[in-house]
Amino acid sequence: MTPDEIDALITSLTIFTLAILVGFAVISKVPATLHTPLMSGANSIHGIVLVGAMLIAAEASGGVSQLISLVAVAFAAMNVVGGYVVTDRMLQMFRKKPTVPKPAADDAEAAS
């Protein structure tokens, strides 16, 4: 390995390690109530693999390579779109009070 390659490897490993620590720090505070949305949200984040899938699609030549990248892009897109939409659907259900159709309820709350 050349010095440049070693540099690049060490940089990547550093980023990887620090990101794991950030992950631990950020997530250990999440209450159990939100564990399912958290998991689903984290699930959408690994949809970032779509970026990688697009980059290999850009270099794909030949049938096998094109098929692989098409499937990879489709898998990743399913992950991203589905993950964020379903997380949002779940989170909008978490309310302090059940929604009351009449706006009068808000006024009463403000008054009290």
């Binding site: 990101a19 794991i20 620590l21 939100l34 699930n43 693999v49 850009a58 794909a60 399913m78 989170l91």
Partner: protein, 479 residues
């Protein structure tokens, strides 16, 4: 600096913006009030990262056609893939029932891990033309393929089990443990040969791929339904790690960061879930291989008679109580009774009864699943109490209403020498009186009798969760 170089830098900055948005988005998951906004921040970061990637590919093709070449096929692949995959994901996310959330998350783990593995496969096929592969490249590619493939088949099996396509109970393959060990050995040896020789080899590579795919199946098949919260968390962590490995393979920092974040979050949840079930992660994974039914031979506390109670009697107890704590378990989710329980709670609250919900960390089929089910039924989240917060309150509760929860309420957990010993439980037995809605005296996952049911304070209302709640609600209404 050429225009293309400037664009390359800008795109990398956009990727960084995406990574920052992921971290901020996750941080906002700390509170139900900011969580939805956090998800949008994360989605915005994702959109920026993906949009920037599209710009990068386009810029390379237009500004440097000699090295990259303008290829329509690239865009057909990208747009076609996004439309197909995105459409399927959107449809699934819009239509899924909240009870089916665990299998959908598992399915997304499968496709995420699968995509990460495909990236490594694609990269390796290119490397076959070269004579030597750098050892670090080789290691990351092999790790990506192993973890991604295990996640892919493992998550599909987990999803199938949760959906009921594959029987949920542990499936034991004769000699399954040997098969699994053999697969692991094959993978390690094949990988070692690749690393030492440094020569790309298609047969060895395919061997590793096949072994990892089969390993995912044999690892997940023997694991029972009640261990699913741990398995899903673990597979989520695996997917994140596979994506990070894919980031090393194609040298892309945003994949490394996002993958590491998810890997860490999955690892934390796996640990939390395993702790809440009083088992180590290793025990759950290996326990399944060996049979995992060590509980069957255990002796629970025998004796004591069970008192059956009618819906009318139970309704009177509830209606004239001051504090009621509802303990929902998986039986409630299976019976889709989350709306029925909320109707009963509403009725009680109208009568001035204070109602709270005690949520055990592993209630449901994935971490926090019960909270989502109750939130869907419009139960306000401040009423949902976590185990540590609610346990001191049981002493003051007039009635604890247990619906389809079993092992997590068994007082035997406080003694040593039982299969549930040491498992964190809800202190239901400390309530002044206890009503249990349950279909039969069937045993829970641990396979032992629940001493709560033979407690003098306990009345058993034998019914399906939904029907039992409906009859209770009707009886309270009639009072």
């Amino acid at each position: 600096m050429t225009t293309l170089e400037a664009i390359e830098i800008l795109v990398r900055i956009c990727w960084l913006v995406g990574a920052v948005a992921f971290v901020l988005g996750l941080a906002r998951m700390n509170s139900p009030a900011t969580a939805r906004n956090g998800n949008l921040v994360s989605a915005g970061g994702m959109a920026i990262a993906i949009g920037a990637t599209a710009v990068l590919i386009l810029a390379r093709q237009v500004l440097d056609p000699e090295s990259f070449g303008i290829r329509i096929s690239t865009w057909a692949l990208i747009i076609g893939g996004i439309v197909i995959g995105g459409g399927l994901g959107l449809y699934a996310a819009r239509t899924v029932k909240m009870t089916a959330m665990p299998q959908l998350v598992s399915l997304f783990n499968a496709v995420g891990g699968g995509a990460a593995a495909l990236i490594a496969i694609d990269d390796y096929l290119r490397l076959l033309d070269t004579s030597t592969v750098r050892i670090d490249t080789h290691i990351f590619i092999v790790l990506d393929i192993i973890i991604g493939s295990i996640t892919f088949t493992g998550s599909l099996i987990a999803s199938g089990k949760l959906q009921g396509l594959i029987p949920g109970k542990p499936i034991l393959i004769p000699g399954g443990r040997l098969v699994t060990l053999a697969l692991a050995a094959i993978t390690v040896i094949a990988a070692a040969i690749l690393f030492v020789t440094g020569t790309p080899s298609l047969p060895l590579f395919l061997l590793i791929l096949a072994a990892a795919l089969v390993f995912g199946v044999t690892m997940t098949l023997p694991i029972g339904g009640a261990d699913m919260p741990v398995v899903i968390s673990l597979l989520n962590s695996f997917t994140g790690t596979a994506v990070a490995m894919a980031g090393f393979v194609i040298e892309n920092p945003v994949l490394i960061i996002a993958g590491a974040l998810v890997g860490a979050s999955g690892a934390i949840l796996t640990k939390l879930m395993a702790d809440a079930m009083n088992r180590s992660v290793i025990n759950i994974m290996i326990g399944g291989f060996g049979g995992g039914d060590e509980a069957a031979g255990a002796v629970g506390a025998e004796g004591g008679s069970v008192r059956s109670i009618s819906a009318d009697d139970a309704a009177i107890q509830l209606a004239y109580a001051q504090h009621v704590i509802v303990v929902p378990g998986y039986g409630l989710a299976v019976a889709q009774a989350q709306h029925a329980v909320r109707e009963l709670a509403d009725m009680l609250e109208e009568r001035g009864v204070d109602v709270k919900y005690a949520i055990h960390p592993v209630a449901g089929r994935m971490p926090g699943h019960m909270n989502v089910l109750l939130a869907e039924a419009n139960v306000p989240y401040p009423q949902l109490k976590e185990m540590e917060d609610i346990n001191p309150e049981f002493e003051r509760a007039d009635v604890a209403l247990v619906i389809g929860a079993n092992d997590v309420t068994n007082p035997a957990a406080r003694r040593s020498g039982t299969p549930v010993s040491g498992m964190p439980i809800l202190d239901v037995d400390k309530a002044k009186s206890i009503i249990v809605i349950k279909r039969s005296m069937g045993k829970g996952y641990a396979g032992i009798d629940n001493e709560l049911y033979t407690n003098d304070k306990t009345g058993m209302l034998f019914a399906d969760a939904k029907e039992g709640l409906a009859s209770l609600t009707a009886a309270v209404k009639a009072l």
